[in-house]
Amino acid sequence: MAKRIDISGLTAYYGDFKAIEDISMAVEPRSVTAFIGPSGCGKSTFLRTINRMHEVIPGARVEGKVMLDDENLYGTGVDPVSVRRVVGMVFQRPNPFPTMSVYENVAAGLKLNGRYKKSELDDVVEKSLRGANLWNEVKDRLNRPGSGLSGGQQQRLCIARAIAVEPQVLLMDEPCSALDPISTLAIEDLIGDLKTRFTIVIVTHNMQQAARVSDRTAFFNLSAVGEPGRLIELDDTDKIFSNPSVQATEDYVSGRFG
């Protein structure tokens, strides 16, 4: 269950403000692609165009194409709701549903998709929690509120919730930025496991993290505040961090700016 993403000529607006301009890139299935760049350069905006979450903000719109294998997510007649069922997302701050238990949180996406027998749900919940390396920590309190877990556990709960519906693609927007180093390490390990099953795109402000978890790295930048962000360079992670072909990338990854 993983698909290739092929994006071409993608431009996104917030009202009249053009946040990102003319971005094209391809993401191979079962790989991890990291987005890096100074804050405000449009990494989150770009990520959210891949599951059509950008357009839920009033006034926001998108131009361009996002192909998932050979289907254009922005084609006419494509329902954004069904796009989001195949392109899952994990947010910067852990956001389990506070009114639901651990179990209900993981099962939430499945319940949207149709009726399941209790035993089927049980299986998926266990499998997803194991997949998110959380099962051993929560198996005795599946019926406790999800918001009672630690921050790192909540984030893994959100990952379990996202993978429970078996998406094709998993998007993560700085999933560790609100976590302590140990929880961060747990999630980075998890990303290594998950990429055998999903196509993963992760935004990170932490370059060591990008170097540790990703196969490919995309560097974004903007020429000035108020100008749209652009994709500067996309290449194998090793190459980006050792020998990038663009000077701006070199400056950024070596810490000379940003």
Partner: protein, 332 residues
């Protein structure tokens, strides 16, 4: 609904004020004055309330001592005849029925309008709708009463006849075509009256649903309605209950509007579409003017019962809200 003031806003002493003890001393004095003031006004308030309660209970006990009927089970309210005979059976029944009708009609509609304003209506439309509903909350109840008597009563006849045709066999909804100055009509009027307050409070609560929660549901592939079901309604649940209690409080105690549309009678009848019945507040409004000292004391006794009912209802609501506190959005 303004945010409660927090102590975080206490201004820090300016940097020039290097003497720590000085700075501390002045805030301490401020604290003391403030805590003394608030303690004092709290105690004063409690004392005033206790005095009012004692006075009312004393007057009520005078009337109850000479009551020929049973205060709880007697139907008629003849507090001014000799010997006096009065009971709250009809009033309690009418109060409960009209309020239940009002809640059953108003709460779902109010929640629907609130969701429409916060989650469906385009922004250009949402603000004016909210504004109009705010205005409705400010209309005096006698105006609603007049509208009820002059418009609602005659126009409900057709609806009630239709109900009677299909559901008349239930007895509760049977109707003989006479002017429906009834508990049902009072309930419908009350529903209209409490709709704005429930809508407004619910709207404010729904609008505060954390964006992050709604996005979590959206990202799972939830439709707009599913987002509401998964995040907005659970988050707003206790707020809607509180809003409904505000509305119920108003419905239970509404005086003029009910007195204007109801034809009171000493009948306790299950046929709630038919004219007749009474409520605590309506009975007080209708009987107070023609009552002597004793009759007024009897009305005070009925008022105390209404007060107890309101207290019980509020307590029950608090219990419901507290029950699922650990699952509430508050700890998100």
């Amino acid at each position: 609904m303004t945010a409660p003031p927090t102590d975080k806003e206490t201004p820090a002493p300016p940097p020039s004020q290097v003497l720590l003890s000085d700075a501390k001393g002045s805030t301490r004095r401020g604290d003391k004055i403030f805590s003394g003031l608030s303690k004092g006004s709290g105690i004063t308030l409690l004392l005033i309330m206790a005095a009012i309660a004692a006075f009312l209970a004393y007057r009520a006990s005078i009337a109850l001592a000479d009551n020929e009927g049973n205060f709880l089970t007697t139907f008629e309210w003849d507090a001014n005849s000799i010997p006096p005979k009065f009971g709250i059976a009809v009033l309690a029944f009418g109060t409960v029925v009209s309020s239940v009708v009002a809640m059953v009609i108003a709460v779902p509609i109010a929640v629907g309008i609130a969701l429409f304003i916060t989650h469906y209506a385009p922004r250009r439309l949402a603000a004016p709708i909210a504004y109009v509903i705010d205005l409705l909350a400010a209309v005096p109840s006698i105006v609603y009463g007049l509208w009820g008597a002059l418009f609602l009563v005659p126009h409900l006849v057709g609806t009630y006849e239709w109900l009677d045709r299909y559901l008349g066999w239930t007895v509760v909804l049977s109707f003989d075509g006479t002017a429906p100055r009834s508990l049902m009509t009072a309930g419908i009027l009350l529903a209209v009256m409490i709709l704005p307050i429930i809508t407004n409070v619910s709207r404010e609560v729904f609008a505060q649903t954390p964006r992050l929660q709604e996005e979590a549901a959206l990202a799972l592939g939830a439709t707009r309605w599913e987002v509401i079901r998964m995040t907005v309604l659970p988050f707003g649940r206790s707020g809607v209950i509180s809003a409904s209690m505000l509305g119920l409080g108003r419905a239970l105690g509404e005086t003029m509007a009910v007195a204007t549309v109801l034809s009171p009678s000493a009948l306790l009848s299950a046929e709630i579409l038919q004219a007749g019945g009474g409520t605590f507040a309506q009975n007080i409004a209708a009987s107070f003017g023609e009552s002597g000292q004793f009759g007024r004391d009897a009305l005070i006794a009925s008022g105390l019962v209404l007060f107890v009912i309101t207290l019980v209802v509020n307590g029950a609501a608090r219990l419901i809200i507290a029950r699922r506190k650990e699952y509430s959005g508050a700890n998100a």
